[in-house]
């Protein structure tokens, strides 16, 4: 098997067809540029202060305000310098060579058209297919059909509170309910309803939907896993814990704010359960036309110790860097390689069963984690100082000390080092929920009860201190009135 991994690494290292990750930042595929030949980032945010030779940021005159991630990607791909670069990178190749490839976190039909215009190929199912598989209700039904259990629920049209209580009663969902619509941000389209007053607050949102998913509210822990559906089977990544709604990190109740990958986090039995569920889901997705990388959120019921399907995100995700830079991935191959192989029709010699067996056993070895640090205060401020991307340690007083400027997360090897990936920079306006940076840690972030560890708290305090803000002047406040607040650029689900 070792030989297999080596061969796969060599294969992708010697790739000659340009491959781009077009996204606001390189975050989701961080580190892949070191493993894959001709892999480059086309980014909007200068997270490495122009120090990274494989990150291209087209020069800009102003700072346009975008409403969606897709708009940033569209902006990037329509930029003269980017188009020239794509053409230049293509020059050494002949017209017989395969088209240049491009990957996104999000894209839409406009972007698909531009990509076609530029004679490139998107290594993902079409937007139409992705949207189909992004439907939370359809995925629930698909999962149920292949034996992957969701939290007890019913999918129905809800017209009134009375109807809701009747549904809940008929399906034994209890008094406390969670209601979800087909699409949208899990934070914004998930409603918690225990009584009529709470229902009324969301009645309009719920009743305008053709159908909603009404779930029993359970005491659960959030977990996440990535996997890849290919012609040779479903390959999985390690199961990790999710950090949710930690007030030091995010202003959003229920908002995702990090992950933690350690062997102790789950019993072998739970890992095996997750594996089987991901395999079944992957097979079902593949059969219905979705190929490649996807992410699954599982909910671990604390009362029954049962693993339920939370949701499926048919794309790269906020845990992709964790999956593909894990100690296990370094020893073997990043899961992302299977996606590339599926999409370039490269035969996979490695059996999915053998690989997944090993992932269940060793996938979570070592201790790594990521913290997504958002600006948590309600008022708009301006960043006057932000740490550069690189390796940091702590001084005895708990202050952040720069050890090395680098773009390579893997240069942080020890528990007393972090890799800080800075997103927002000096001079920028920060708003509630803005992504300041991501902290990659070599250690456990969560206690068995999903509370922050002492080390995690220490790092959060130190990193937060390194971001310094000031209040806006009157003039700046007036200027800001014209601007809107963009959402998270990292995960967006």
């Amino acid at each position: 098997m070792l030989n297999h991994f080596l061969r796969l690494r060599e294969l992708w290292k010697s790739n000659t067809i340009p491959l781009y990750f077009v996204s606001p930042t390189p975050f989701n595929l961080l580190g892949m540029e070191n493993l894959i030949g001709q892999f480059q980032f086309i980014s909007y945010i200068d997270t490495f202060d122009k120090r990274h030779p494989k990150v291209y940021i087209p020069p800009r005159t102003l700072t346009p305000v975008f409403n969606h991630l897709e708009e940033i990607n569209y902006y990037l791909l329509s930029h003269k310098r980017v188009i020239e670069k794509i053409k230049r990178d293509r020059k050494p190749l002949s017209s017989q060579d395969p088209a240049s490839k491009v990957l996104f976190l999000f894209f839409d039909p406009t972007i698909e058209e531009v990509v076609k215009d530029l004679q490139m190929e998107i290594l993902f199912p079409s937007h139409e297919d992705r949207t189909k598989h992004d439907n939370k209700l359809d995925i629930t039904q698909l999962a149920t059909k292949v034996g992957v259990q969701s939290v007890p629920h019913v999918i129905a049209k809800v017209r009134s509170y009375r109807m809701l209580t009747q549904l809940a009663k008929r399906h034994n969902l209890g008094q406390s309910l969670v209601i979800q619509s087909a699409y949208g941000d899990s934070g914004k389209t998930t409603f918690f309803v225990e009584n009529e007053a709470q229902y009324r607050q969301h009645a309009q949102d719920i009743e305008t939907e053709d159908q909603v998913k009404v779930m029993k509210k359970i005491r659960c822990l959030s977990t996440a896993m990535e996997a890849c559906a290919t012609a040779s089977g479903v390959y999985i990544g390690p199961l990790m814990r999710e950090l949710i709604g930690i007030p030091e990190l995010t202003p959003f109740k229920g908002g995702w704010c990090g992950n933690d990958l350690t062997l102790e986090a789950f019993s072998p039995d739970i890992r095996q359960q997750a594996r089987v569920m991901a395999e079944k889901l992957g097979k079902a997705l593949y059969k219905s036309g979705y190929r490649g990388y996807f992410e699954v959120d599982f909910l671990l019921d604390q009362d029954s110790n049962t693993l339920y399907l939370g949701e499926v995100n048919p794309r790269l995700s906020g845990i992709s860097a964790m999956t593909n830079l894990s100690p296990f991935a370094q020893e073997t191959v990043p899961l992302f390689f299977f996606h590339l192989m599926e999409w370039t029709q490269t035969p996979i010699q490695l059996s999915a069963k053998t690989f997944n067996d090993r992932v269940v056993r060793e996938g979570a070895k070592g201790q790594t984690g990521q913290l997504i640090l958002k600006y948590t205060a309600p008022d708009l401020r301006i960043l006057v100082s932000a740490p550069a991307t690189g390796i940091y340690t702590l001084d005895p007083k708990g202050n952040l000390i720069l050890k090395k400027l680098t773009s390579n997360r893997l240069h942080a090897k020890n528990p007393d080092e972090i890799f800080l990936f800075r997103i927002m920079n000096t001079g920028e306006y920060v708003y509630k929920g803005a992504d300041l940076g991501i902290v990659f840690i070599n250690g456990t972030l969560l206690s068995p009860t999903y509370k922050l560890t002492k080390a995690a708290k220490m790092w959060i305090t130190a990193v937060k201190h390194a971001f310094v803000f000031r209040e806006l002047t009157e003039e700046e406040t007036a200027l800001v009135d014209r601007y809107q607040t963009p959402g998270s650029i990292l995960k967006g689900d």
Partner: protein
């Protein structure tokens, strides 16, 4: 008193002289381009696509100019003049049709924003003398075949998807020979705002076309145009620019048997045709008289300042005029 300089420049293919002109004007143009926010202007890919679709012959010269201007994304989009930031001007134009026809026009705008460049060029196979706008577009001009073009603002506030008119006129002077060809070309290329365009060619065929983003072009053989379209519709702009008053003067002058060419031209130098608005930032910037038989153009300003140029004899010079 406002003073303004005009340059008559000969540079057959864009090089250092155009580049110098670009550098002098670019900061104002960039500011204009970004006035409504960068994302409200089309991106590079759309600009390139639209140029390719509507005026593909201009692509090589566009690319050349973009390179001369530093090659950046914003400049390329600006120079494509596809859906530029909306702007207004005024203008009167008329064709004197007795004996020796000429096209006379007053260009009304903010003097400081007028580029003041009259360029003689031969970018493709045709020589062109034109008053420049938007760095390579045309306000009024003539080519070696005797085709004359002149624009006046159409007075409507509508903005649509299309090109800035100066570039469409440039395209016409580069590639058309007759009023018929010019009219056909104008009618097929979308303009982003409403204009009244007058053409005259060496055979003295005249047409005035009212174009607007929201309605099909209105072709007529009216020998004049001011700043409204169709019949009488009172809008702020027509009132502000005294459009009807100027139209009336043009009609009276053109139909008066006692009017001579010289007295007609002189009328352009006085109110209401010569626009001396109370606003010092807006008024007539110059009078141009194009003669398709002589293939010559005369520019006139107040205080008897004038300058005549032709394809046979073009004299590069700089002039300072006062209003």
């Amino acid at each position: 008193m406002i003073s303004k300089s005009f340059s008559f420049v000969e540079e057959l293919f864009p090089s250092q002289k155009w580049q110098a002109h670009y550098e002098e004007s670019c900061s104002a143009y960039r500011k204009w381009f970004l006035k409504e926010g960068e994302l409200n202007r089309p991106n590079y890919l759309q600009c390139e696509r639209m140029l390719r679709r509507h005026m593909p012959e201009l692509i090589p010269i566009w690319e050349h100019l973009v390179n001369l201007a530093g090659g950046d994304d914003l400049t390329a989009r600006l120079l494509s003049l596809y859906c530029p930031t909306p702007y207004v001007s005024a203008c009167s134009q008329a064709v004197w049709t007795r004996y020796s026809p000429v096209l006379i026009r007053n260009y009304d705008y903010t003097p400081s924003r007028c580029e003041g460049l009259i360029l003689k060029s031969k970018w493709h196979s045709t020589q062109v003398i034109a008053s420049i706008d938007c760095l390579w577009g045309v306000l009024d001009g003539m080519n070696e075949h005797g085709l004359i073009v002149s624009l006046s603002f159409g007075g409507k506030n509508e903005v649509g998807k299309g090109f800035g008119i100066p570039l469409i006129l440039r395209y016409i002077l580069e590639f058309c020979k007759t009023t018929q060809e010019a009219t056909d070309t104008l009618c097929r290329i979308p303009s982003h705002m409403a204009y009244n365009i007058t053409f005259m060619d060496a055979q003295f065929h005249v047409s005035t076309i009212e174009i607007s983003p929201s309605s099909p072009p209105e072709i007529s053989h009216k020998p004049f145009a001011v700043n409204h379209q169709g019949g009488f519709s009172l809008n702020n702009y027509a009132t502000f620019s005294k459009s009807y008053e100027r139209e009336h003067t043009l009609i009276t002058q053109l139909s008066d048997p006692n009017t001579t060419l010289e007295s007609f031209i002189t009328a352009f130098q006085y109110a209401p045709l010569w626009n001396t608005n109370e606003d010092p930032n807006f008024g007539t910037v110059y009078t141009a008289i194009y003669n398709p038989s002589a293939k010559a153009v005369e520019f006139r300003w107040p205080h008897q300042i004038q300058c005549t140029q032709s394809f046979a004899r073009f004299e590069p010079k700089d002039m300072e005029v006062h209003y």
